[in-house]
């Protein structure tokens, strides 16, 4: 069954059309990478899945976006509940100015969970899931800002995992990190794939090739091509895709 189904989506910032008639399906427990040059709309697109674009004034969307068969843009949708189901990791590590523990527990607190024992267990699980537990288990009370950039980003992943989402959106999660941290994050994505459906935006084509099952190539607000990653990177059907992945522009 398809986890996410997008049908004929147009998206506007005021009068500017950022996404043009996009349709695609994402299967459960797959990693899908969005690639494309800057300004092609891939970040706008990923933020549609948890309605993060709602925060920007004067934007609107037409078409339908179904997650688990339910249109998330229909009237009366509980956006907070949607965001609990669709976790997100941002481009730059953005931990809260709180302790490591409180950062991970935050999502549980705001979703009304008060059971301390459960929270403690969930924090540990999430940190383990984000491959950070061994590094921070003795200093959970320390400020999250004391961590390195790569650790902070894994903390943000742990924070997203804590609320048990079924989909994980990652908007260029490794672009602000050094190669070693990047490698760790990629390894982590491999692991997470077993339990989550992952949508990742990346600028780094090698990264897309390494970690994703399917790849969508965006250009100027249009989805040019969407196929198995292997095909996109070895035998793309469109010339524009070919040009981009061979580094002729972008």
């Amino acid at each position: 069954m398809n986890k996410i189904e997008v049908k004929n989506v147009d998206f506007y910032y005021g009068n500017f059309q950022a996404l043009k008639n996009i349709s695609l399906e994402i299967e459960e427990n797959k990693v899908v990478a969005f690639i494309g040059p800057s300004g092609c709309g891939k970040s706008t697109f990923i933020r549609i899945f948890n309605r993060m674009n709602d925060l920007i004034p004067e934007t609107h969307l037409t078409g339908t976006v179904n997650i688990d068969g339910i249109d998330i843009y229909q009237k009366g949708t509980n956006v907070d509940a949607l965001r609990k189901k669709v976790g997100m990791v941002f481009q730059r590590p953005n931990p809260f100015p709180k302790s490591i523990f409180d950062n991970v527990a935050y999502g549980l607190y705001v979703n009304g969970i008060k059971d301390k024992k459960y929270i403690k267990q969930k924090v540990e699980e999430s940190l383990q899931g984000a491959a950070l537990w061994d590094e921070v288990k003795d200093e959970l009370k320390k400020s999250a800002f004391a961590l390195s950039g790569g650790q902070q980003q894994r903390l943000c992943i742990a924070r997203a995992l804590a609320i048990s989402p079924s989909i994980l959106l990652m908007d260029e999660p490794a672009s602000a990190l050094d190669p070693i941290s990047t490698a760790k994050i990629e390894e982590l994505i491999w692991e997470l794939k077993k339990t989550y459906t992952i949508v990742i935006v990346t600028h780094n084509m090698q990264q897309a090739a390494r970690i994703s099952d399917k790849t969508a190539y965006f250009y100027l607000g249009e989805m040019i091509e969407y196929d198995d990653t292997k095909i996109i990177f070895t035998n793309p059907k469109k010339e524009s895709t070919q040009n981009y992945i061979t580094g002729r522009f972008g």
Partner: protein, 395 residues
């Protein structure tokens, strides 16, 4: 040439920096030397002495007892531990009741001798006499009252700076007045200010904010005397009617006026702080399923806590130091207020009201400087304690 100009500019900046710092230090020093002078002044009005008959058993009298005697509240010596005799008060201008003008001499040259004679003849007398009329052969008993003491000022419950023969410079009523007014003002202003800041920073849309913000900032440009006038005309009758008071000029009135005055500062500073909370923090909170309000209360406000605390400090600073408006609406009675609905008087209002009538260099004048020091110290303590707290809160 360019380097030469840069050197000159650097020199000018250094000089102006130094000059300003030194001027500020000198002002503080001036304040302290003037204020500290108070403690080397005698309790009895400068240049006067309290004298008794030698046969009187009393050797010491407290300032309060002397005041009560001259106010006719104590009329018998046995009330202060002496014999059962009515007290006879003697001030210099009473001398004509006892002696004819001729007896005092054309140049009043016989006055010292006559006073001495008078005091030695009347056992029940207490005299308040200029020192110049007390010669070495004075036949009475001179009471040594000593200088104004630290505890008379800091624990004194009465502020009567122009009384004779003894003035009281107890600052407790003024400090309690200041604290009452400032505290209540902040209690009123803080919730409104922070609420308005949250509204402006998080809820209002661009258009409303663009109209509201300049209006709020305009409020801080209104002179305080205008606020005082407004308070006098509008809030004084309001408070009087609501609480059924004999007079509407109370601490609460001052607090309300001060709260209105402190609002613009609190709103603009805390709104700026909230808007400085990065978008990425809000997004992270929302992306975890936090609602808008959870994001505001758990992320935005804690993040801008140090900004909000500095807004509070600025507000308190304004409240503690504000003079004119408070002077106009609080009723200015220097008694220790036990409630906010009583007339009271603040430190700055006291300085403003009394400095004009205090003789240069006199006790009263120095006492007002001491008040200035206390005000300075109070604001310093508030500033540094809040700085300490907000530095601790910062991650």
């Amino acid at each position: 040439m360019k380097r030469f100009i840069e050197k000159i500019i650097q020199g000018m900046l250094t000089v102006s920096g130094f000059v300003t710092s030194i001027v500020i230090l000198l002002i503080v020093l001036f304040l302290f030397t003037e204020g500290a002078g108070l403690f080397s002044k005698p309790k009895v009005e400068d240049g006067y002495e309290i004298v008794l008959n030698k046969k009187n058993d009393i050797n010491t009298l407290s300032a309060e007892q002397i005041k009560d005697m001259f106010d006719d509240k104590i009329t018998n010596w046995n009330e202060v531990g002496g014999k059962n005799q009515d007290i006879v008060l003697f001030r210099l201008n009473d001398i004509t009741n006892y002696f004819a003008e001729e007896e005092l001499g054309e140049q009043l040259e016989h006055v010292p001798a006559k006073i001495s004679e008078l005091i030695s003849q009347h056992e029940e007398i207490i005299g308040f006499i200029p020192q110049e009329y007390i010669k070495n052969d004075f036949a009475g008993k001179r009471l040594d009252m000593g200088n104004i003491k630290f505890k008379d000022v800091f624990f004194g419950k009465e502020w009567i700076p122009t009384a004779t023969p003894i003035s009281f410079f107890g600052i407790l009523p003024l400090i309690t007045g200041t604290l009452w007014v400032s505290l209540v003002a902040i209690l009123i202003a803080l919730p409104f200010g922070v609420a308005a800041a949250i509204y402006l920073a998080e809820i209002a849309n661009h258009k409303i904010r663009d109209i509201l913000k300049p209006v709020i900032e305009l409020l801080s440009g209104i002179p305080s005397v205008v606020y005082g006038f407004f308070g006098l005309i509008v809030i004084v009758p309001l408070v009087q009617n609501i609480f059924h008071l004999p007079v509407g000029e109370t601490g609460l009135t001052g607090s309300i006026v001060l709260a209105i005055m402190a609002l613009p500062t609190i709103i603009t500073v805390s709104e700026d702080a909230m808007r400085n909370c990065p978008r990425s923090m809000r997004e992270a909170s929302l992306a975890l399923g936090g609602s808008k309000w959870q994001t505001i209360f758990k992320i935005v406000i804690p993040y801008s806590a140090s900004g909000i605390t500095s807004a509070i400090v600025l507000g308190i600073g304004r409240a503690v130091g504000e003079t004119m408006a408070v002077l106009m609406v609080t009723g200015n009675s220097a008694i220790i207020a036990t409630g906010i609905l009583q007339p009271l008087r603040t430190i700055p209002a006291t300085i403003a009201a009394e400095l004009g009538e205090a003789p240069d260099g006199g006790v009263h004048y120095q006492a007002l400087f001491l008040l200035g020091i206390i005000l300075f110290l109070i604001t310093q303590i508030i500033n540094s304690s809040v700085e300490y707290v907000s530095a601790k809160n910062k991650l």
